[in-house]
């Protein structure tokens, strides 16, 4: 049984990743290109400032894959494989939850597990460390940023599982409705404390040293030594669109997982007439 659940989860995950990729190709790529154009313009302005100040020019990173490959093939492979990974995790969570989280139909459980995955793996970490387009994020801080993001994700998933266990325990005493509210409240409080304790990206030591106290790594206007702005800060509309589409793509991915897996699970878990007779 677990093999059949996992196989279905992985296949549905690939489909979900594919749909999210189609969305990304249409909506996200123009924003990613706008961000890269901003970065190129900023690098040129910075190079002009450096030259005027007599500093050596910084070298650009090597281009291994062209933008066309990255924007059409790379993002597709990345998102489909991400879908496969999430489908596999979804299937395991589904298999573990089966029959252990109360009187739920297979398809209802499918939607709840998918919702939990969306919240725990993506949306809650996003609240603290939102997705950023290219040109936001300093090279020097990639190690702490990666560690913080993973830590945030692990906390979010662990607390979510804890909330489900808590809700299940409280249900006997307080009833389903109140137990759900209490478990939700507990999750919000605990994850809120974790978010408050973890540093903002602008507070990382390397960033405070190089840029002063800022909340994030979003590029501020570039100024010349006289204090005049020679290049604007990162365009706010591009940032908003990118993040909004990022949430939308993950919503598409997890909704597809839940909705397509639901009827498959319903069919897989329905008691067959022959089996009933045999029992």
């Amino acid at each position: 049984m677990e093999k059949r659940i996992i196989l279905r989860g992985v296949l549905v995950g690939a489909l979900a990743g594919l749909l999210a990729f189609v969305f990304a190709r249409i909506f996200a790529e123009p924003q990613i290109q706008a961000a890269i154009d901003y970065e190129s313009g900023r690098d040129q302005a910075q190079a002009a400032l450096d030259k005027a100040a007599g500093l050596p020019a910084g070298d650009e990173g090597p281009e291994i894959f062209s933008r066309a490959i990255q924007a059409n093939v790379g993002i597709g492979v990345g998102m489909v494989l991400f879908g496969v990974a999430m489908g596999a995790l979804f299937a395991v969570a589904y298999a573990v939850c089966l029959g252990r989280v109360g009187n739920l139909r297979p398809r209802t459980l499918s939607m709840l597990v998918a919702g939990g995955g969306f919240l725990g793996i993506y949306l809650v970490p996003f609240i603290k460390y939102p997705a950023n387009p290219p040109s936001i994020g300093h090279q020097e801080t990639i190690a702490p940023r990666g560690a913080l993001y993973v830590l945030m994700m692990v906390c979010s998933v662990a607390f979510l599982i804890g909330a489900v266990v808590l809700g299940k325990r409280l249900a006997k005493r307080f009833g389903n409705w109140n137990a759900t509210l209490l478990a939700t409240l507990a999750f919000v409080v605990v994850i809120g404390v974790a978010m408050a304790l973890l540093p903002s990206l602008g507070e990382l030591a390397a960033n405070v040293r190089d840029y002063g106290p800022q909340a994030t790594e979003t590029p501020l206007p570039l100024k010349n030594p006289a204090g005049q702005i020679v290049y604007p800060g990162f365009p706010a509309d591009v940032l908003w669109d990118f993040r909004f589409y990022s949430i939308a793509a993950q919503a598409i991915l997890w909704a597809t997982l839940g909705l397509v897996f639901a009827p498959l699970a319903e069919r897989l878990l329905a008691p067959k007439p022959a089996q009933q007779l045999a029992m």
Binding site: I32, G78, V96, R105, F126, I142, A179, S246
Partner: protein, 71 residues
């Protein structure tokens, strides 16, 4: 999750005996986490296949768009 009231014809019937299913479930989790790592994190903060940027550059756009930290 336990708490959505469901008046249903068929409740979730199967409980997988976890010790029996552990091999497949555990293996799948490892597989998924490895995939997650290579898509999202490898050759950024840490790198498995040496100090090149092939994976990073190839899935670059997906990495940004899926919410992972990137340069």
């Amino acid at each position: 999750m336990s708490t959505i009231p469901a008046t249903t014809a068929v409740a979730t019937p199967v409980v997988l005996p976890l010790p029996k299913a552990m091999l497949w479930l555990g293996g799948t989790v490892l597989f998924a986490l490895a995939l997650y790592y290579f898509i999202g994190i490898d050759q950024g903060a840490t790198s498995v296949f040496g100090d090149n940027m092939y994976i990073h550059e190839f899935v670059h756009d997906a990495r940004h768009f899926l919410g992972f930290p990137c340069h």
